[in-house]
Symmetry: C2
Subunit: 302 residues, 2 copies
């Protein structure tokens, strides 16, 4: 079950209390693709500039990540620079150089068009719909978005959401998209816009998922060492969507397992800068971490 | 297994986005005692003024709450007035009139002295120790504290913590007490001060518990209607300590169940002002809500 992901591939410069990383591989599609590739083949659509080298591409090699859709354009690659607060719960963007990403027009290679699952990374909702127009019959469409589009293109975002089954956003975005402070009310409002399943990412406080069958609450692992939170949300999405693609199911049992798998992958992501930890990760490590989530959440009945 | 609780009994005036309640029953010992009384007899030690009437005492009647230790002093009862933010995650104290509570010297009635379990509500750590001096051999001592004592009487608090097995604080208090931002490091530092078990309350984000056997993460229920969060932490403590007293055990299985029972009781507390919801609560409702926690946290292995 191949996954089509459309999103950013970027250079990140990141400062955290633990250190600084200069022009390392980043971007939503990068984190997503590597995380999802542990479970399912990934077809990547994105754009980089002529400064994007073999060293960066190496992250995808040896993995079932198809790069035919990674366009190389005249100009420079998207560069994001950010600085995290001491508690890692907030960050300031120092600069955002969109460069070639400003002119990104997703072109879906012919052999990607029968992808079963589509993940629309956080890009202009107009472009997200153009991607869907090029993929005739996906089994499942999952989508990310952000405040910039919630406030900047609300009507376009609504049209996109009508074609989405699973929306993944953080708690603040859920509140702003719905206009409701209470997350239960926010979830009801968002699910009425189209996505039957809403996954609310709360960072260190875990994840809430709202489905037809009610809600599911998963913690984040309390980690002694959070090195760099950059990409944790996209890595969560990669583990979540990757796991769903692998199982071929979307029932509540599979969705809950997928949330834990997404949380598992995200818990590794934050252990190092960039994709570094994901690149050394093994399947036995993933399975062991999944079992840690079982261990720390289990309790007996009365 | 009787529980001795020492803490405040107060009048609260509360404003939330849902409304306003004027001079209703509040105080840590009140919420704790009523919540714990569903599981175990409670011996209450506190102080009220001459303005504290039969109407307020009615909350404890018909429950196994012994009021011999509720002293009535010349003067007025402690009055707290607070106003919550729109999202209910922060509150401003409008005024705190300590009144008779300023002169509170806990006197433990003779027949309370063989209480098996002691809960030291959030009072001066010097007074907390004086309580322990009057109870020869409790099986279990649980304790609450707050920033005021963490910064105002750090040495005294340390001496008290050496005699405590279970500390219940919120995440901010855990950070300030330990001087560590990271909660895993904070927990290690606090557990080295005495309490083998640390329960970190995170409000709408649930609870983390750190024990000899590792940690346990419990969500809070996402509620459509949070009416008034006042007393939720004390109600959690009442359910948690009450459940432990009833089981007579302190192993990891019982501690985890106690966290869920505390969360269950707190989820009712916020549904109405003051102790109103706790006063109509039945044991079948409690058991059903506990099962909701099971339902919303369960997921299958791989």
């Amino acid at each position: 079950m191949a996954i089509l992901v459309v999103g950013s591939v970027a250079y990140d410069t990141v400062e955290t209390p633990s250190g600084r990383a200069e022009r390392v591989l980043g971007g939503s599609a990068s984190f997503f693709a590597v995380a999802a590739s542990f479970f399912s083949p990934v077809n990547l659509v994105g754009v980089v500039g002529q400064d994007f080298g073999d060293e960066q591409l190496a992250a995808f090699r040896g993995r079932p990540v198809d790069l035919e859709g990674l366009e190389r354009m005249e100009g420079k690659t998207f560069h994001w620079q950010g600085r995290y607060s001491r508690d890692l719960n907030s960050r300031d963007t120092v600069c955002t150089d969109l460069n070639v990403f400003e002119f990104f027009q997703p072109k879906i290679p012919a052999r990607y068009r029968d992808s079963d699952v589509v993940f629309l990374g956080n890009i202009d909702p107009v472009l997200q719909r153009r991607v869907l127009d090029q993929v005739p019959k996906p089994r499942l469409v999952a989508c990310d978005t952000m405040n910039f589009w919630i406030h900047g293109k609300p009507e376009e975002l609504r049209k996109t959401l009508e074609r989405v089954q699973i929306l993944l956003v953080n708690d603040q975005e859920a509140r702003e998209l719905s206009g409701e402070w209470n997350l239960v009310k926010a979830a009801a409002a968002i699910r009425a816009m189209g996505p039957r399943t809403l996954v609310v990412k709360k960072g260190e406080h875990g994840v809430l998922m709202f489905t037809d069958e009610g809600f599911f609450a998963a913690p984040a692992l309390p980690l002694e060492m959070v090195f760099d939170p950059t990409g944790a949300g996209d890595t969560f999405a990669g583990g979540f969507v990757g796991y769903l693609a692998r199982t071929g199911r979307e029932d509540d049992v599979a969705l809950r397992q997928a949330v834990i798998m997404g949380s598992t992958m995200a818990s590794f992501c934050v252990e190092a800068f960039s994709l570094d930890r994901l690149l050394t990760l093994t399947r036995p490590e993933i399975d062991a971490r999944y079992r840690v989530f079982e261990k720390v959440t289990r309790f007996d009945g009365l």
